[in-house]
Symmetry: C2
Subunit: 564 residues, 2 copies
């Protein structure tokens, strides 16, 4: 007899599970229950629709061929029944039935299943403050939200907006509304945007956001939405600041949408997501769960995590769909939490652990490095990349890579992700055989150069100092000799202005007499990206200086204000 497969949820993971189930089993009766009117929404594309990168809303709903994935498409092309505007009220696990309700007709429906796949997604977190009911407050979580914000863009009436939350969706929304010509402020309670990045790299992104004339306030939370006649007129921050605005987008994160599962007694994990094994089975072996409603294993820390990413949702769906019809052994091992976002002319990406995340997860034996360089040769108009790599010292394995800048961040992070999945060590990565030609990379790719610097640090050839550490020395007026080894022209054009002395690398061998007499005095060398800074440090160490450090990444990785 044909198996009855029911999928609750019709966004990403659900339709993928249904489609995979169909490809494995042509006989199964497969039904998708979807609360919204739309199906298979490319929800990660909402910000780009709002921003006006494209105008046809259907492009978010269409298969690559341009056909909108509506119930007719699902039944004809895939033999899958999709019930839209239908809400699941209850799962009766004993009877293996679900009760549903059609939202527009209020019609009730009871369906029985052999295997059930829960793909209920995530819900936006909302701040527990006054005024949340005011008109002019939204999230960017649903197609309806996207329609609402796109209309605001097209109407061009709203002048001021505030975005609550400087995470991935907050920043993507910031770009979208800025491109719509709205005067914007991003508010983040924590001291930095994009907490998947370490502070220094996040700050470089923040500087870029500000350069696009968006205002950014960090370290200050939302206290209250201010209204008049039921409409939003401003927000009040925890420090008392009031910002007038007609629109607020709340983007403070999402939480797994698990109420239906929890009500049915399915196990919910410590992170709030549905517990699943590698087969995507819940605590009930006839019920699978996939997508933003589950918790996953972080493959580096071994700990459970909530990883609401559209790409993983699809991969999980594929596994559950196969297992539901075949009783098979398809597995999804977990996540290394790879992510990326576009931030105006920058991209910001991460794979694996940041330094902060590594320390939080209990990794104590780590080394980090910051590297700045163009992604391609100057003659092919290379663009800047700033990377930070985290390595486990004992094993030499790469634990994480972050990268920001106008250059090809996506490729760096993709390589980092593959390197982590393959358990590659620094000793292997320093000799990586990558696709080189000048239109695509430097002769020594930025990734390899980052690995070289890491290898040098691990071997004790280079002693690094971060921007934050250097800034602290300067602020505390510590007795440190700061040596800029760039050329005079470069010094005229851009300079830190933190009391540094300029001796160009080419002149350093002949001007060693100008250096401090005290060979134990702390010295920090740098240049634009600190390659010359490293060479200078090697020279000074040979000359007997015992406390020489290289400011990692150089001026290009300096996140603070410069003199010029």
């Amino acid at each position: 007899m044909a198996k009855k497969i029911i999928v609750i949820g019709g966004s990403a993971a659900g339709p993928k599970a249904a489609a995979r189930a169909r490809r494995i089993d042509q006989e199964a009766e497969i039904t998708i229950i979807q609360k919204d009117k739309d199906l298979s929404m490319a929800s990660c594309g909402y910000p780009y629709y709002v921003a006006g990168f494209f105008d046809d809303r259907n492009m978010l709903l269409a298969a690559p061929t341009g056909v909108v994935r509506d119930p007719k498409y699902f039944i004809n092309a895939k033999g899958i029944t999709a019930l839209t505007e239908t809400e699941v009220i209850e799962i009766d696990r004993k009877a293996k039935k679900i009760s549903c309700r059609n939202i527009s007709t209020n019609e009730r429906l009871v369906l029985s299943y052999d295997k059930l796949i829960i793909a209920t997604g995530a819900l936006p977190k909302l701040p527990p403050v006054k005024g949340l009911e005011l008109e002019g407050i939204t999230t960017l979580q649903s197609m309806k939200d996207a329609d609402y914000l796109r209309k605001i863009r097209d109407d061009a009436q709203i002048k001021k907006a505030v975005i609550i939350g400087g995470g991935l969706i907050g920043i993507e929304t910031c770009e979208a509304l800025e491109l719509a010509g709205i005067d914007l402020t991003v508010i983040e309670m924590l001291p930095q945007l994009l907490t998947f990045l370490d502070w220094q790299l996040a700050k470089i992104v923040e500087n870029h956001v500000k350069s696009k004339s968006a205002n950014v306030i960090t370290g200050n939370g939302l206290a209250e939405f201010l209204g008049k006649d039921g409409k939003l007129v401003g927000v009040k921050l925890t420090n008392g600041t009031e910002l007038p605005c007609e629109l607020a987008v709340v983007a403070i994160g999402v939480k797994p949408n698990t109420s239906i599962a929890a009500n049915a007694g399915i196990e919910i994990g410590e992170t709030g997501g549905i517990v699943v094994n590698e087969k995507m089975e819940t605590s009930d072996p006839d019920i699978y769960a996939v997508g933003d409603c589950v918790e996953l294993k972080n493959l580096i820390t071994g700990k459970k995590t909530h990883a609401p990413y559209g790409d993983l949702a699809n991969l999980e769906g594929r596994v559950a769909g196969e297992n539901a019809v075949s009783g098979g052994n398809a597995t999804f091992p977990g996540t290394i939490q790879t992510g990326i976002c576009k931030v105006f002319d920058f991209s910001a990406g991460v794979t694996g652990l940041s330094e902060t995340a590594a320390k939080k997860a209990g990794f104590t034996d780590i080394e980090t490095v910051v590297n700045a360089s163009p992604d391609k040769p100057g003659f092919m108009t290379g663009k800047l990349l700033v990377s930070k790599m985290v390595v486990e010292k004992k094993t030499g394995k790469i634990l994480g890579l972050q990268c920001v800048g106008p250059g090809d961040v996506s490729k760096q992070i993709a390589m980092g992700a593959m390197a982590i999945m393959g358990g590659l060590t620094i000793d292997r990565l320093v000799n990586a055989d990558l696709p080189y030609a000048p239109p695509f990379s430097l002769a020594i790719d930025h990734f390899i150069a980052t690995s070289h610097i890491m290898q040098n640090k691990l071997a004790g050839l280079m002693h690094g100092i971060t921007a934050a550490e250097l800034k602290e020395l300067v602020d505390k007026k510590e007795d440190v000799y700061i040596l800029d080894v760039r050329g005079p022209d470069e010094f005229e054009e851009i300079r830190l202005g933190i009391g540094e002395v300029l001796i160009p690398l080419g002149a350093l061998r002949n001007r060693l007499g100008e250096l401090p007499q005290d060979k134990n005095k702390p010295i920090v060398c740098f240049c634009k990206i600190s390659l010359r800074g490293y060479e200078a440090a090697r020279l000074l160490e040979w000359k007997g200086y015992t406390n020489v450090r290289v400011f990692e990444g150089g001026i290009m990785a300096w996140p603070y204000q410069r003199e010029k």
Copy 2:
């Protein structure tokens, strides 16, 4: 006492070795002997200089700061002596001395070394035909060649040129001269361009080259250069064709430049390159060799190979430079032969083994797959990628990846390279955690989708047929039912015209009666990229058809002429 390090060769590997030696050892006396006038030339950038991507010749010779890397730069910034226009005549290994000659002054010089690093590069192969001495024949191997061709571009006098050889440099030169407005023909003796690709993908690139109005002749070699008054006026091919031209660029490959090493009794390997171990030591432990003059281990086949790539030259140089001063244990393990080139609006890349290379190396237990898809969603203006993956069946390990098209080939190949280096298997790659956001990739990245198709093939869910196999069936008028499952609009716009029947996937479930009665009749399903073709095949197999295959990659991977 300070170690004496001599480096023969000042292009890529040599200066890198010298620089690394200096960073490790500030006392060593380091000397580079360079035959040319220029040093540290970015030789992979020559085609882009010739093409006019940039005009300042010095950009090929400059450090990222813009300073030209001349002898003054080397001594000031790095404390390295560079003797240019100096030719090494002989290595006296017993005395540990080299004899040199200044090319302009004819002055002789004998220098002693503790460690010698040979980085003499490669020489262009020249065809053994008549007329090679004619004016108007060049290679694109040296800065002098680049200057010559750039002048031809700038003078805009030459109207017709022929490129002998359709490999990487031939194709890059083709683009450069085409952009210079010269009427071009590329001649390749073998049946395809870019032999690092399998035929089908190479043919797709060839079609693109032709679409740019360059003429391509494959399977036909050069017989003779035709001259008049000492000047080139044409070329004659082995089949008798004569092509008038005023310029010919010979790009039939390079061979290791090993005469100095061989004369000194240093071991030369089966491929013609200097034999080195992982420390880059030659058969003489006081002499290292690096770059295009050595042979390397192919890490997949275990066999020796000549891999003249600029990126590897740098990495080898770094290892030899360190070992020469430290007597250390730095190692360079070998190559997986990753490469890429820009071909007008396409890129073409490879890492690891093509199917041809795998079979040649004795891998019999392999599976291959061709996948075509955009690199990004349609709403972010994704561009086509066509990939071919080769996997070892027994282990599931990826052996190679090729990719061509206007999309982001470079990232695909970089990921493939990391996956090969990490020994990743298909079972892992199907769940790869990659950086996803719509500006950067599909929700299921092209690489992962390629892996999914491979997994389906390995699991027997999909039976593939290549373009070449399908073409052969058609040409032989075999009794095969060819089923195009796209929509009628798509069929009107583009179609193969090989006798296919159109039944859109969405209608197939209701029109099964139109299919052949004979359930054993061979059926081939396809669509634009064969995702729908795969779904159709799954349906037909369920209906009892026993001989259903999917044309891999679909119309986008069809390298032959189409009806429309």
